[in-house]
Amino acid sequence: MSNLHLLDMKDWGSEPTRKGFGRGLVKAGDADEQVVALCADLTSSVQIAPFAEKYPERFVEVGVAEQNLVTVASGMAAMGKIPFAASYAAFNPGRNWEQIKTTVALNDVPVKVVGAHAGLYTGPDGATHQMLEDIALMRAMPNMVVVVPGDSVEAEKATIAMARDKRPGYLRLARDNTPVMTTDKTPFEIGKAYVFSPGQDITIIATGTMTSVALEAADKLFHDGIDAEVIHCPTIKPLDNATILASVKRTKKVITVEEAQIAGGLGGAVTELLSEHLPVPVMRMGVKDAYGQSGTPEELFQHYGLTAKHIVIQAHHLVDQK
């Protein structure tokens, strides 16, 4: 753990990942004047505001028009700009997927699609605004990099890394405060997964805000005598096959955890990899072919079976099976 400079659980902070994005965007803008930001009438909410205040001449307000958001960004990127095009994930890429495919990904220009308020933390807003299909949608798109940061500190690094990356990208962000596990010194590289907690008995692969929950589960499992390895997988595409396969070779049992549809999400990606290279029992935890609904995030995570307790139960199922 120490080489990753992670915080002890008792020292975890609390901040939304979108805040880290906001800081990262300003830093990316400081480093490269070609970085520009576009927003669809949600400037403060998706944390474009700090950039817009510092660089008003490099900020473009598009209005509530998500199709126009990414297609304008496409034109700007073709002119050498590095546009971050941000809105809620429910609309971006929920509404403008075809435009992203044709004018960004197939066209191969470095637009960064930023989907904020993704997943179940959008709580009371209900199913229409709880974007759960975005990972699957964006992962199916050739040329597209898909990044789901685990906390706000990592979101900041991911934003800076994506600005430097020449490929089209998708950055998934959550609304509410979530635990901050990493520090400025924790490494982040696009395409890398990290063993946040080493173990021997089972591999728990988590992405985004679910990594902190997986770490809590591993802590509980340790007291039950199960030594779980937790892999934090912030890049869904390209998937870090080597890190996952190396771990699963030892543990031969896998749980994936995400606050998204398991079909096509992290669960889909990991099972595709393992079924071809290392077939072992896999339990995919996430939302299972259902829509979200209004409620507090706590109620929703309980309802959809995505708490540390749920992970512990599933881990017991897999490990005790033998």
């Binding site: 520009v36 001449e57 490099r58 473009v60 598009v62 209005g63 028009a65 199709q67 126009n68 297609t71 304008v72 960004a73 496409s74 034109g75 700007m76 990127a77 073709a78 002119m79 050498g80 700009k81 075809e98 435009q99 044709t102 004018t103 197939l106 066209n107 191969d108």
Partner: protein
């Protein structure tokens, strides 16, 4: 300012010469579509005069230096009409004319709908309708940020394409930021796949729509090369608004049996027998004969240049 390429400083071509080029483009459209065995006929034929004007008079461009930093940007929003752009590009020297015979074939740079990554000289990837105007606005927005006031962005759109909401999002946006170096050329040929535009989804009052979105509108005969050149010259001079040129064109222009007939929107010559058209095996031959005889007329009527 970067170096000015040779072809841009060349003496302007006469209108007769541009009409002859449009005629060559039409013949290449027929040949390449017949060879492809699929693709759209009516739109590209109707657009030939506009593309002759764009590539041989209006655009600042250099086929031998496609990344020239001072070039104007030319975007095709209704990507299905790309056979006309390919023909104009080949005629300009972007690639050998014989490559037109690879249109829509496996391994070709000339994809059924245009792809920027496949063919140098294309500025965008399009086909799904309604996104070209936004992309044009994006190019213009970047130029504005970079204080490049001497470059122009031309985007050709279809009229059926104006059914798409994305177009009107872009229309509001371009006007809000007064991206006046954007010129939209709407190919008003009145047809789309299921019939006439006014039957499928009425567009009129089309001028009123664009004007109410904050655009300056110029209406022209889009099959008159000189009118296209003049309208674009005026568009460059208008700085208080972006400009929409509603170019009234005849779909299938130049091939008698195709003109005005929406059935030819999405069909190549030689594929099927159509009422009012020659048998399928003769369609290309008849079309080319007709275009060659039109070419003779241009030459005879052209006063001096040829």
């Amino acid at each position: 300012m970067g170096k000015t390429p040779k072809n841009f400083t060349a003496k302007k071509l006469s209108i007769e010469k541009l009409e002859l080029i449009a005629n060559d483009i039409r013949q290449d459209i027929i040949k390449s579509l017949e060879n492809a065995g699929s693709g759209h006929s009516a739109g590209p034929l109707g657009l030939a005069d506009i593309f002759s004007a764009l590539y041989f008079d209006i655009l600042k461009h250099d086929p031998s230096n496609v990344d020239w930093e001072e070039r104007d940007i030319m975007l095709l929003s209704n990507g299905h009409c790309v056979p006309v752009q390919y023909a104009a590009m080949a005629e300009s020297g972007y690639f050998p004319k014989k490559e037109l015979m690879t249109l829509r074939k496996f391994g070709s740079r000339l994809q059924g709908h245009p792809e920027r990554k496949k063919l140098p000289g294309l500025e965008n990837t399009s086909g799904p309708l309604g996104s070209g105007l936004s992309q044009a606005a994006g190019f213009a927005m970047a130029m504005k940020m970079d204080k490049q006031s001497h470059r122009f962005v031309y985007v050709v759109t279809g009229d059926g394409e104006l059914n798409e909401g994305n177009i009107w999002e872009a229309a509001m946006f371009t006007s809000k930021y007064n991206l006046h170096n954007v010129t939209a050329i709407v190919d008003r040929n009145n047809i789309q796949i299921d019939g006439t535009t006014e039957h499928v989804m009425p567009l009129e009052d089309l001028r009123g729509k664009w004007e109410s979105f904050g655009w300056h509108v110029i209406e022209i005969d889009g099959n008159d090369v000189e009118a296209v050149i003049d309208a674009c010259a005026m568009a460059r001079a208008i700085v208080e608004k972006p400009v929409c040129i509603i170019a009234h064109t005849i779909p299938g222009k130049g091939v008698d049996y195709m003109e005005y007939d929406y059935h030819w929107h999405g069909m190549p010559v030689g594929l099927s027998d159509v009422a009012g058209a020659p048998p399928k095996n003769d369609q290309a031959k008849v079309a080319l004969q007709e275009l060659r005889s039109l070419r003779g007329k241009i030459r005879n009527e052209g006063s001096h240049d040829e």
